[in-house]
Amino acid sequence: MRSIRHSPVRQATMHLILFFLFAGFCLAGAINLLLQTHPINSALSLIVVMTSLAVLYLLLGAEFLAIAQIIVYAGAVMVLFTFVVMLLNAGREERTLGSRAAIPIGFPAVVALLAILATIILRAQGLASAHLGAGLSNDPNGSNLVVLSQVLFHGLLLPFELTSVLVLVAILGAVAIARADAAKVDGAERTAEK
């Protein structure tokens, strides 16, 4: 990566343009998620947010996470969401006043939270600035993936395997929860036949 770096200035400009473009996509998608009343439109804007976040991960030198973000989040999770929206035939959201506590307490709390976080972040000393093409390791030929897999499959093998058990249990639980009612309906039909 580093050997093909010709002009640091041009690369920094490129990084700025990419950051602003995809941070803008992120924010636009998130705001659109809030403004849309139909769940399918919200789901599609969430896909925009997640895909732009994958590009931001790439800019921060996390190639594996960028691909995993697209496959797991923008792919698997959002397909589940759109599938459920279409399966349940979810219509337009009814505009109600919402929770009574949301407007007087919720919004000032969110604004205060954002203000506190932004103040802490912008006042923090010693935060680096991100270069394009600099990953975790300072080795120019070293891939992020090598470091990550060494830690994941060597030091953290047990938690990694436990995650697979967790996902398996979650799938079985999802099937059981979604089916439990069907069994009851089946039983009710049988008692009605008697």
Binding site: A12, L46, V72, V84, E94, L117, A128, L132
Partner: protein, 106 residues
């Protein structure tokens, strides 16, 4: 245009993450559809993931990225179970509006 010649400060990534998190909280508060509220939770998880990746970059520590990987796996499991619960609730109540699912409300 001297700022064009600098690299992107990491603080901007963190501010973006904070803004996305707050938008997720706002969505959770104002949305009345149970699926859209669930999507807001996913948005908050993604915002936190971005700050983990930014800090992993700051400290040249791979563990930050590993945490993001585990968060992704747990979020996938959570989405599967949560959507199954939504389907089960919809079968019983025939609605997705959280205002009508108020059996346990005072």
């Amino acid at each position: 245009m001297s700022f064009l010649h600098n690299d992107v400060p990491l603080a901007w990534y963190l501010v973006l993450s904070a803004v996305l998190f707050s938008l997720g909280v706002v969505g959770f508060l104002i949305k009345r559809n149970i699926i859209t509220m669930f999507m807001s939770i996913e948005l908050m998880l993604n915002a936190v993931n971005l700050s983990f990746v930014a800090f992993a970059y700051q400290w040249h520590e791979v563990k930050g990225q590993i945490v993001v990987f585990f968060v992704m796996m747990v979020a996938a499991a959570e989405a599967a179970v949560g959507l199954a619960i939504i389907i089960a609730v919809f079968r019983v109540r025939a609605t997705l509006a959280v205002d009508r699912i108020n059996l346990m409300k005072l």
